[in-house]
């Protein structure tokens, strides 16, 4: 029985939800403002809506993981973000968690993995 497209999409979103914070923290090791951050994430293959990105930045700042400041750039006021010291510690912790999880999943899925062939089988 083929897997419905909406189920696949829900699974995909669930899988990537937790990784977005890691991607944002990793990208903000160097200072960026919202638009360049989104562009850089998209360039790396991590697409995120503005409607989700900006609230996330504010939440991370409230949690003390980011610091921001308004500054003029190209004749416009922009808000620049970068990692705080706590954010750098959180990034290091999450990175090691991610790597451990990745290694564990690799051992479960195998180096060749179920890959696309396994899923394709199921979809058929």
């Amino acid at each position: 029985m083929p897997i419905a497209a909406d189920i696949m999409e829900a699974l995909r979103l669930e899988l990537r939800r937790g990784t977005l914070i890691l991607a944002v923290l990793g990208t903000l090791r160097t200072e960026k403002y919202g638009y360049t951050l989104k562009t850089e994430l998209a360039g790396a293959g991590v697409d995120i809506d503005e409607g989700a990105l900006y609230p996330m930045l504010r939440r991370l700042e409230t949690q003390g993981l980011l610091v921001s400041e308004w500054r003029e750039d190209a004749r416009r006021q922009k808000r620049f973000y970068r990692l705080s010291d706590d954010g750098a510690a959180a990034l290091a912790f999450l990175t090691s968690e991610w790597r451990a999880m990745n290694a564990a999943l690799d051992s479960i899925l195998g180096s060749s993995g179920l890959g696309s062939s396994g899923l394709t089988e199921k979809r058929r």
Partner: protein, 332 residues
Amino acid sequence: MTDLVERYLASVERRLPKATAQDITAELREALLAKVDAREAALGRALNADEMAEVIKTFGAPAVVAARYEGRMHLIGPVLYPWFWPAQRTAVGVTAAIFLVLAAIRALASDRPVQAMLQSADNVIGWGLAAFAIVTLVFVLVERMGDPVKLAEGWWDPKSLPREHIRKPRSLFESGISLFFDIVFMLFWTSLLPFPNELPLRDGASVAVTLSPAWAAVYWPVLALALMAAAGHLHDMVRPAWNRLRSALSMAGYAGGLAVVWVLLQSRPLVDVQPQPGTSAEDLERALLLVDGVLLVSLGIAALVWAIALAVEAYRQVKATRMSEPGATAAA
């Protein structure tokens, strides 16, 4: 075309907390204009209204964007939700049952029972909705003010889980119906609700049947037993699974019922019959024998049922004790 941007930002801003609204919209404005600039640079011209609307749409609906800043996008979260519907079922069910019983009593006491029942239907719906609203409000307050995770963890203990394997939990309908009959019986017993007691005989004759003085000795015990049964059935509506306390209450009820039967059997007859106009002495004698006999058999059947039920409950108590003993699982 910045008019569309400003309208969008104003729509987001009015949904945000005042303290942060301006700061957030300033950042969104910058983000929107940066995206517009990039799009215009790619096209080599200014965006028209449709293209501008398309860019704005990628940011999401104002209500959704504002809610994301608030961080909480639910009234009752996944930690409390598993308790939400069971709580609603119980609250609305118990409320509806109480008002249905009241409606039934009102209907029985009225000259126009159907009309009285329909008039009471408004109360059932209204109070059912009120119960739903109150439970929802309590859950929302706990979600907002309490610590749902801690509460959810503290709410349950494996040792207090219902013993559903001892006896199938009673349904709300079953308990509600039982409660209804308990109340009707109590109304009959206390003479608050008059029941017809005329027994028609052949040839148009009839007799009025009343309980004999033998029953006077058990008036209060029977009322107490009926109240106990009603309390038990009300308890079943909230906690339908078997538990020791409820079982003990049932056992006390069955034992009390047996004692009442034993007391009644010491003095006969169980009923008195009074002749109505046109009833012969022979008819009267026959009616007394018949009603007394029927009541005697009914009491005998009730005593048998209660004795069996008492034994079953005693067995369940023993079974629960055995299953609670250390090593019971290993032995099983």
